[in-house]
């Protein structure tokens, strides 16, 4: 689908946003995590917001019924936040659930129905075994064909996409490693990141553990040697190894949106929604000849750029959906930052690093920040909002003026894609 020239019927602005730390939090339910993100987000509104002014909420969540044995999350979150009887709607689009929740909030305001809306996203994954996590995430694929018939896992599907990319463009695991090293370096600057440490820190910790246990201390010359070590970084689904995969996470994120016409009541530092786009795609078996591009991303990107009246070259920085390292490489191509086949080489040349012209995943991405699937889209959006306002702390991109930031949030193996562009007024 080409862009259709659609615009929001009225402007929408973001006036607050926050995420909980991502990690494993045994005693916190989805409701609790959501409440923590909400409290934090209220505190980020420059001139304050009376919670009574919030008129509706949208909650992104993938499958709390399996992770927590709890469906019908919308009203429970509304209750926990003290926001009943306001309408509370749960939104599901696999790992893009809260990108979609944000988009519903945008459209609810743009339509004129509400002036102040809360968009939240949450997932509590650590309460089940890793095997169960893998099984539940696989439910976001075409279960009959891809799981029951082909026994493909979720990493397996992205591994097949990576194999296809390698074969066509001559890239290799070494390029994937560059993405992992970069995103861990970025995560080391992010206090909310699950992996709040570089791979060098991870290596030091392992050496220390070996010393304490009186075992031989592994000698790795650098991060790349560590990643090539099959014992340290075992294969999951070739060519993907452990450090190519985002971790299992608990966490929530939250953003407060208002009609742009009233944004100045809340802040003098207005960040507006320049574009909101969403696309769907059939399962990968129906894609192009070689699985090296995600059709839903291409389609949503085109709509987003058209709505914002800009092109990929205008984007100052982006948070992209690196659920697996090859997904970041392909995202940078599908978003138009690099030509098809160049993304891997661009990553290796440092063109996506935090000091580059267009930093990718300065937050650490899903890879290091963590990936509580239903929270990820809004974690990206609150990150872009903070970066645009200059409130991103140690990880602030400070070598260039930031005006336009993009989020790319993907559900399943590209079945759903939500892309948003935020702009500092």
């Amino acid at each position: 689908m080409a862009g259709n020239g659609r615009k929001l019927a009225r402007g929408v602005a973001v006036i607050g946003g926050a995420m909980t730390p991502f990690g494993a939090f045994e005693d916190k339910s989805s409701r609790d995590l959501m409440a923590d993100a909400y409290t934090e987000a209220l505190g980020t509104v420059d001139k304050g917001l009376d919670p009574g002014d919030i008129e509706a909420l949208y909650v992104g969540n993938f499958c709390s019924e399996l992770f927590e044995r709890q469906s019908h999350l919308g009203h429970l979150v509304a209750d926990w936040l003290g926001l009943t009887p306001r309408p509370a709607t749960r939104v599901e689009g696999a790992c893009a659930s809260s990108g979609l929740a944000f988009r519903e909030a945008v459209m609810a305001i743009a339509s004129g129905m509400y002036d102040v809306v809360l968009a939240g996203g949450v997932e509590k994954m650590s309460s089940v075994s890793t095997a169960e996590v893998q099984e539940y995430l696989a439910l976001a694929s075409d279960v009959c064909m891809e799981v029951d018939q082909a026994a493909l896992t979720f990493p397996g599907l992205f591994a097949a996409i990576a194999s296809s990319y390698f074969a066509r463009y001559g890239a290799s695991r070494e390029h994937l490693m560059r993405v992992a090293v970069k995103n861990h370096d970025n995560g080391a600057l992010n206090p909310n990141a699950q992996f709040n440490r570089s791979l060098r820190d991870v290596m030091d910790k392992r050496r220390q553990k070996a010393r304490e246990r009186g075992k031989p201390v592994p000698q790795w010359a650098d991060e790349y040697e560590f990643l090539r070590d099959e014992r340290a970084n075992p294969v999951v689904a070739s060519p993907l190894h452990l450090f190519d995969c985002s971790p299992v996470s608990d966490g929530a994120a939250c953003v407060i949106l208002v009609a742009e016409s009233i944004a100045h009541n809340f802040t003098d530092n207005v960040v507006r929604v320049a574009a909101s786009a969403q696309s769907s795609a059939a399962p990968p078996a129906t894609w192009n000849q070689d699985l090296t591009t995600l059709p839903a991303v291409r389609s949503a990107a085109q709509q987003a750029y058209e709505m914002a009246g800009i092109g990929p070259a205008d984007i100052d920085f982006a948070e992209v959906h690196d659920c697996f390292t090859p997904a970041e490489i392909i995202a940078t191509e599908d978003l138009g930052f690099f030509e098809p086949g160049r993304g891997a080489f661009a990553a290796a040349d440092g063109l996506t690093s935090r000091k580059s012209d267009r930093p990718i995943n300065a937050s650490g991405g899903l890879k290091a920040k963590g990936h509580p699937v239903g929270a990820t889209g809004l974690a990206q959006l609150q990150e872009v909002w903070h970066q645009l306002r200059g409130s991103a702390g140690k990880r602030q991109i400070d070598h260039k003026d930031l005006r336009l930031g993009l989020t790319h949030n993907v559900g399943g193996t590209g079945g759903t894609c939500a892309i948003h562009i935020l702009e500092r007024s």
């Binding site: 893998q134 029951d148 018939q149 026994a151 296809s164 689904a237 000849q289």
Partner: protein, 134 residues
């Protein structure tokens, strides 16, 4: 069972008879696997059955070491991996499937042919489409 329909159940029914049956749109001629009732190109419900040869080539693949529970129950795991991926069939459609080549390493572009195996997941029996070297 009643006459197979253009849907997943119909697809699985034919797999049980060792046949790969797709649906072909009578309006535009496009072939769909698994069979589906509505043609996304023509937007019509005017399908016919098309028997596929089962010949194709490997489009992409992966060797899976962290296996799902159903495969663990069949004895697969880190020490006994398996290959799965996508096979492009001669007639056009691509199908996700396991690729069983024994000692021969799987490569992209490798010619393969369909085979049908009966599998059990707990109480459930189903026919599964796999591919072997042509």
């Amino acid at each position: 069972m009643a006459d197979p329909q253009f849907d997943i159940a119909g697809y699985l029914h034919f797999l049980g008879e060792k046949k790969i049956m797709a649906s072909r749109c009578r309006d535009c001629g496009k072939v769909y696997l698994p069979p589906r009732p509505i043609c996304p190109d023509s937007h019509t419900r005017n399908m016919d059955w098309a028997a596929l040869s089962g010949e194709g080539e490997v489009k992409s693949f992966t060797t899976i070491a962290i296996v799902p529970a159903a495969m663990a129950a069949r004895g697969y795991g880190r020490d006994r991996t398996y290959v799965s991926g996508f096979v492009a069939l001669k007639e056009g459609p691509t199908v996700p499937a396991r690729i069983k080549t024994g000692e021969t390493p799987v490569t992209i572009g490798m010619p393969v042919r369909a085979d049908f195996v009966e599998e059990t997941d707990g109480e459930r029996h189903h026919a599964t489409l796999v591919f072997r070297p042509a």
